[in-house]
């Protein structure tokens, strides 16, 4: 699908802007300017069509050479006893480099999505779960219940690519999609979808009731948190009659205390359903390489990334390849930003080193949000920016 026509080139690209990693995005490069031609969504357009940005490093806001900026970074890290390497919005190779740097500098690692990743991780570590992946959903799912999320805010093309397609064992029109939650716009293009409206803060109670009903327990109350028990029973009956029911959640949207208990209600509902029929959970969302960073940290160290960002630290390295609008935490410690050339800051960093964005300025590798698929990213344009691994290896040399 690649072609070359004078000044413009078209090619298939993989989009790292959300956890779906759509790899059917057709882009055009016209004199180093990228446009999305097919397979677009709001996120992919703002990712692929971003400007090249400021490719000059800054020391205390003043232009510097890469050598100077790298030397300054090494100088700060040499003095620091426990640096915090945060953000970690990067791909696999970038994270491997950062992991090595953390080993060398005795640093703590923390991803910008740690709070939502931890919600899922707590469920995995306390009970486990029964889950599925996108291709299974596309080909088997007949009842899809999205709990506390419209999905599309995070994964704009989920319905288009997965649900509104004919699968091997199910036609697109035979599927039923049910949303449960608050502020969920009914998706008009989604035939046969329905909405069970409830406040987000009531999801713990509603998911618990659903879990109880799936277990066959009778509820005396006619309403649960304002939702008719009979309506919940209708959803549960559909889940039980489904050949392959899928319960979808996005951890980021379950942003309330003890959200892991709500996620566990969802996953345990799937576990109970599997005693008699087939069902599975599906975790969606994902961004900034979070899935791969968590995975790679686990295999490299044997343990998962910790949540605690408040850990004592005396310098911050903010790594941010994919989301220039996500700012480093405010801190009175020395701040180094290794980031996208369009990075925005609150506090002016002591050092800013622009780095190549994987999937745009250089190749890379990312894990899809459902965990089993790893996809290569392509270099689409020339910026001359160094990769994160290049920069880190030069820092490491100076650290000795």
């Amino acid at each position: 699908m690649n072609s070359d026509n004078g000044n413009t080139r078209t090619m298939m690209a993989t989009c790292p802007a959300c956890g779906l990693l759509c790899d059917d995005v057709l882009i055009e490069n016209n004199q180093n300017k990228i446009s999305v031609l097919e397979g677009s969504c709001t996120k992919s357009i703002s990712f692929f069509e971003q400007s090249i940005g400021n490719i000059t490093p800054l020391i205390a806001g003043k232009p510097a050479t890469f050598q100077e900026a790298i030397a300054k970074t090494a100088q700060i890290l040499k003095i620091a006893k426990n640096p915090l390497l945060a953000g970690l919005s990067t791909d696999l190779q970038g994270f491997r480099a950062i992991y090595d740097l953390a080993q060398k500098t005795d640093a703590t690692l923390s991803h910008m999505n740690a709070a939502s990743s931890q919600r899922n991780l707590r469920v995995l570590q306390s009970a486990g779960w029964q889950i599925t992946t996108l291709t299974e959903v596309k080909n088997r799912a007949d009842v899809i219940v999205c709990i506390g999320t419209d999905v599309v805010t995070h994964n704009p093309r989920f319905f288009e690519r997965i649900i509104q397609q004919d699968g091997m064992f199910i036609g697109a029109k035979e599927r039923e999609v049910i949303f449960i939650g608050e502020n969920i716009q009914k998706n008009d293009t989604l035939e046969g979808s329905s909405l069970l409206a409830c406040r987000a803060s009531d999801l713990p109670e509603i998911t618990l009731a659903m879990r109880a009903l799936v277990l066959g327990k009778k509820l005396k109350a006619t309403q649960v948190a304002g939702v008719n028990t009979s309506d919940l029973q209708t959803v549960v009956d559909k889940l039980k009659q489904a050949k392959y029911a899928v319960l979808v959640w996005v951890a980021k949207d379950l942003d309330f205390p003890h959200a892991e208990l709500t996620i566990q209600n969802i996953t345990e509902t799937a576990v109970v359903l599997n005693q008699i029929t087939r069902a599975a959970g599906l975790q969606l969302g994902g961004s900034d390489g979070d899935t791969g960073v968590n995975y790679a940290n686990t295999w490299l160290s044997g343990v998962t990334l910790k949540e605690d960002q408040s850990i004592q630290h005396d310098a911050v390295v903010w790594v941010n390849s994919f989301s220039p609008d996500k700012k480093p935490p405010s801190s009175d410690r020395p701040l180094i930003v290794l980031g996208n050339a369009n990075s925005q800051f609150g506090n002016k960093p002591d050092v800013f080193i622009p780095i190549a964005t994987p999937g745009l300025d250089c190749g890379g590798l990312l894990f899809r949000v459902d965990g089993s698929v790893t996809l290569p990213l392509k270099k689409l344009r020339e910026t001359g920016l160094p990769t994160l691994s290049d920069v880190v290896s030069q820092i490491k040399v100076l650290l000795g």
């Binding site: 298939m12 696999l92 995995l124 486990g128 029964q130 299974e136 087939r278 160290s301 698929v373």
Partner: protein, 560 residues
Amino acid sequence: MITLLKNGKLYDPVHNKNGVLDDIYIFQGRIISKPLNTEKISQTYDLTGKVVMAGAIDMHSHIGGGKVNIARMMLPEFQDKKLQETKNYSEPEAHICTPYCSHNATPSTTDTGFRYIEMGYTAAFEPAILPINARHAHLEMGDTPMIDKGGYAMLGNDDYFLRLLASRADQKAINDYVAWTLAATQAIGIKVVNPGGISAFKFNQRRLDLDENNVHYKVTPREILKSLSNAVYQLGIAKPLHVHCNNLGAAGNFETTLNTMGASEGLPMHLTHIQFHSYGTEGDKKFSSAAAQIAEALNTNKHITADVGQILFGQTVTASGDTMMQHLNAKLANPKKSVIMDIECDAGCGVVPFKYRDQNYVNALQWAIGLEIFLSVEDPWRIFLTTDHPNGAPFTSYPHLIRLLMDKTFRNETFAKLNLDAQAMSNLASLNREYTLYEIAIMTRAGAAKLIGLNDRGHLGIGAAADITIYTDQADREAMFAKPDYVFKDGELVVKDGKVIKVVWGATHTAKPAFDMRVEQGLKKYFEKYHTIQLDNFKISDDEITEDGRGKIIVHDKTS
């Protein structure tokens, strides 16, 4: 620069050397013939009295990929310091923590490489790579230092294959798909897990026997085995089809296992972790040893090889592609949690933590069944030493297992401490066999290399890669095999006195038989219609493994 290993006692079954005193010369990573007197020997190691073997090869160990990483993520308690203390364990559990093991069933990639090489293992093969997850598996193996690695790609539950089989596609179409999969996933062998069963579970079928139909595709496990074993054979892939039989772990499953041996109609097949497939239904508890029947069948059926999948007592985790059976096993989880996952119309995985206890009837008998099989199978070239790491026990318990095989007194003492009902149901104490060093060298080196088709590994002949392990001959075989004096990897001294002294990065072994490129026409249509990624992104290029400058790919064919 020539290195001389002088006057060692060589156990090199490929060359019929059974404790023969000999010298080995190493040059540029290879064993060479005795150089001319004029050539300079740079380094000499006096190995007088030492036991010399090729580096050991683990032909079945779950060292990397999705399910192993899920196990790591799910089980932070494995990293708990308390578990790392050996002193609270009493025999027979103490072996789980030799001073050199990483003390848990889910080591990091670094620990995996280090613990293997410290025991004298120079290669390990990940036996269950889901093709869709192959890139992840290679990433983890790429981060595993010290040892060579490789993997077996799983087929037989993927919808693409089952559609081919159900539509009675000809064998050539199957062969092309199998060869294409090997190339696309950078694997060296093909595995099938619960043939048809992982797929059947997605259609809510809960059990599947050898001659039973997958409810949707109306094909049987026997047909799947026949088709895949033929493909592997006709393509000239050295490694026989790697088979995880139907009915894993179920009482009475030995009959399925016996029948499975006939499914390939005489073509080579390897039945993996056969201990888990050797259970009868006799006795009050309706669970008994069928090791005698299985061993007898293995002795008779020369086309079949097997590895044992020995269990050892203690905490571990089971990680398998067999969602159908792991879903049943989840109720036995300890600690009480599990992950069951359907994956990409490709296969699935089930991760269930287990604690094998010596006073539990079933666990104690499983332990005995594994050893009964080891001791009753006559040909050490066709039986392999595995714990199905981490499913039966962590690989770090191999030295203990070797002692159980080589030391009857030790074995019987351990047996006498087990659950009494289990003792009553096992003939283990009547088996007098003690494995010799020569037989251990076959089972863990020569045989494994031959099975996988690593012609320049597993032996000490001229031209072989200089992967060499040197032990002090000790009566305590566990102590001996836990801590070699020296390990050479590709000619470099990397371990001294059981400790890593140099970090190296091994190669990835693959097989890439030719196929008709037109196989991609059908695959492309299938991917466009049903998959969620592009066909091109499914395939792993050589560069992905080698571009970081550490990895290296070795392609094997039957003659190389």
